[in-house]
């Protein structure tokens, strides 16, 4: 399981450039016996036909991650970039990135402390002032390695550490992808359609298209959501707590959960003694925002794995939460058969 997470999180898949992740998912989804296809947006659709009813349950997790796109090459061969998705500019200094299909290594540096004026280290450097250094000495050299429009993402390997924790980039939302791949191993009474979406980080653009053409009867979004249960953050702003199980959302910035699905999800967790928590603090949006409003409306609910430090190169998750999310989802889907 950690192996799958490692492959998924270490793959590069900035919004609009999900190819590497898509390849891995196509391979792993096919191994579950699902019928796999890619739609016109690049979403991966993996379908397990139901044994009895013709009802369609759409599970969604997004393949894309936040990152960067190269916008200009300076005369000295430094790369200017834009961020793709929301990234706190304060965490970019002294970080490594990989650029383009070949994964050209680059760094976002900052001039040495010795060259700074006294109070410079209290001033935030605007992302527009930053460059990516790929170790070349001229524009011409840079152009041989990088093209405008190439995507860059954080360079960060998965590490298992602490008390059953993992550190990786892009846990938001490769962890959701990993949950879906696990759920695809089973067959249900209804059609299970696992949708691995693109471009969630820039406004759920893949999910919108997928929900339209899949016409689901029900939607469940699997996310890696923010978890701010760290020192100096007031308790009411923690959003989720690490290690307390999957977070079920009654509401976030993009949707209000279908009340019946929300109740059933909580009930399932309780009946099977699976740890769960309600997502506190109405923060963050996800593919549910577009799925629940698709066509004439789709009852939708969101279940998330709490992840600290999302949208950074070092996000973190508790493997117990991941496993309990899979347990909860399996029980819920089994329960759907009798309803």
């Amino acid at each position: 399981m950690v192996e799958v997470l490692k492959r998924l999180t270490e793959a590069r898949g900035v919004a609009g450039n999900e190819d590497e992740v898509r390849e891995i998912i196509l391979e792993l989804a096919a191994q579950t016996g699902a019928e796999v296809s890619v739609d016109r947006m690049g979403n991966v659709i993996a379908r397990k036909p139901g044994l009895k009813t013709g009802k369609k349950v759409m599970l969604a997790a997004h393949m894309d991650e936040v990152g960067f796109i190269i916008s200009y090459i300076t005369d000295s061969g430094m790369l200017k970039f834009h961020t793709v998705g929301g990234i706190d500019q304060r965490l970019l200094l002294s970080k490594r990135v990989r650029i383009g299909k070949k994964g050209i290594p680059g760094v976002m540096g900052v001039k040495a402390i010795h060259l700074q004026e006294k109070d410079e280290r209290n001033k935030v450097i605007d992302q527009k002032q930053m460059v990516i250094d790929i170790g070349v000495h001229s524009k011409e050299e840079a152009q041989k390695l990088v093209e405008l429009g190439d995507y860059a993402c954080f360079d960060s390997n998965l590490v298992v550490f602490g008390d059953n924790k993992v550190k990786a980039k892009a846990l938001d939302d490769r962890v959701g992808c990993a949950v879906l791949l696990e759920l695809l191993k089973d067959t249900y009474d209804f059609d299970l359609i696992a949708c691995f979406t693109v471009q969630e980080e820039i406004g759920s653009r893949g999910g919108e298209v997928a929900a339209w053409h899949l016409k689901p009867d029900m939607g469940i979004v699997l996310e890696g959501t923010a978890c701010a249960d760290i020192p100096d953050v007031p308790e009411h702003m923690h959003i989720t707590k690490m290690g307390r199980g999957p977070a079920i959302s009654y509401m976030d910035r993009s949707s209000i959960a279908d009340p019946e699905l929300f109740r059933q999800m909580v009930k399932t967790a309780r009946e099977h003694s699976i740890p769960y928590q309600l997502k506190e603090n109405i923060a963050g949006g996800n593919d549910a925002g577009v799925i629940h409003k698709s066509r004439s409306g789709v009852p939708t609910v969101v279940v998330s794995v709490p992840c600290r430090y999302i949208h950074s190169p070092s996000s973190m998750m508790d493997l117990n939460d991941f496993n309990n999310t899979i347990r909860l989802m399996k029980e819920f889907l089994k329960g759907c058969e009798s309803r």
């Binding site: 304060r90 002294s94 280290r121 978890c227 070092s314």
Partner: protein, 351 residues
């Protein structure tokens, strides 16, 4: 060469706590030296003896110095949630710290992440205010009881940033300052093995440079050299730094000029570079340099000293970037310079 550098970057060697890296350096030196010594501060001396002059005149004792210690962090407190508060050892720009991976050297080695607050709950304008080091914390992914059992206030924290190869001969990683120069010491030894030279060479990997060149003070006193050659890094050219204080990354090593360096000896070093077509850039430095040369020059009754530097971008960060070719070029220059010290070398040291 790159492999040894990569290995050195991964070893802990915080100023004042250099034992582990000193042992590895000592092992490497012993492959190329007549004798290797380590003092009680963990300065490591690789000694190579040239062929004594035929006329029985004394051969010069030449000391090379490159520091092995690194900047780092130290545990200041454990919070009630089991996170670590920390402070810095050596100059660290707090703005590079968020989201960094670190190793805590507690009762066992622990992996940690420097915490960040997700954008989802930040207030407007938060991302325009630098987070202060005192407000940051390290997440070990462990419950507080376990943290308290494994970590104590004062435990060392090093950055985790293994070497990455970039375009051409460029590399980046942590602690290139000044382990790239320690690697150069080994390259000098290899070069010397191909040359005829008279000098007795003390290639010294020094400790505690980052906290005031303390290792150089002790080791120079001990060696009592006739000539000092300090090797360190200097600032590489970047768009955000003043051009006049930085050096190109592909135009050769840097030789320093100024009161801290012996003018005659520096001239001879530059002549050697000219003679063998080794590119160099000049660093004009007006006072005591921020390198081991600062202390070597004023050891005992004075040591004529020169300074060779490697241009390095983003000094004191986890992505220090340099050109490996410069290590080779610097080593060649220094070895050729040592070989050029023949009978009458004393004349070179006069003012």
């Amino acid at each position: 060469m790159k492999e040894f550098l990569a290995e050195l970057l991964d070893l802990p060697g915080v100023s004042g706590y250099e034992e582990i890296i000193a042992r590895r350096i000592s092992d490497e030196f012993s492959k190329y030296c007549d004798e290797v010594q380590t003092d009680s501060f963990y300065n490591v001396y690789g000694i190579k003896r040239g062929t004594a002059p035929k006329d029985g005149s004394p051969a010069p004792k030449v000391m090379l110095a490159a520091h092995m210690d690194e900047i780092a962090l130290m545990v200041r407190d454990v919070t009630e949630e089991g996170f670590l508060r920390f402070t810095n050892i050596g100059g660290v720009d707090q703005r590079i710290l968020l989201s960094q991976e670190v190793t805590i050297h507690g009762r066992e080695k622990l992996f940690g992440i420097i915490s960040t607050i997700p954008p989802h709950i930040q207030e407007d304008g938060d991302s325009k205010t630098a987070v202060k080091m005192k407000d940051m914390c390290i997440d070990l992914g462990l419950p507080v009881e376990k943290v308290k059992a494994l970590v104590r206030i004062g435990d060392l924290i090093t950055f985790r940033s293994p070497l990455v190869s970039m375009a051409g001969s460029m590399v980046n990683g942590k602690s290139m300052d000044d382990r790239a120069s320690v690697v150069m010491l080994v390259e000098v030894m290899k070069e010397l093995d191909r040359l005829k030279y008279q000098a007795e060479v003390y290639a010294t990997a020094t400790v505690q440079e980052e906290v005031g060149t303390r290792g150089a003070i002790i080791s120079t006193y001990r060696v009592e050299p006739d000539i000092g050659i300090a090797i360190d890094v200097t600032h590489g050219e970047t768009p955000d730094a003043p051009r006049e204080r930085t050096y190109a990354m592909n135009k050769g090593i840097v030789v320093a000029k100024g009161p801290n360096l012996h003018p005659g000896l520096t001239e001879k070093l530059l002549e050697t570079a000219g003679e063998y077509g080794i590119d160099f850039q000049l660093n004009i430095t007006s006072g005591p340099t921020g390198t081991d040369a600062r202390s070597m020059q004023i050891s005992r009754g004075g040591v004529p000293t020169v300074l060779v530097e490697l241009p390095l971008r983003y000094m004191h960060t986890t992505v220090e970037t340099l050109n490996l070719d410069h290590i080779k070029q610097g080593a060649r220059l220094i070895a050729l310079f040592i070989a050029s010290l023949k009978e009458g070398w004393q004349e070179w040291l006069k003012y």
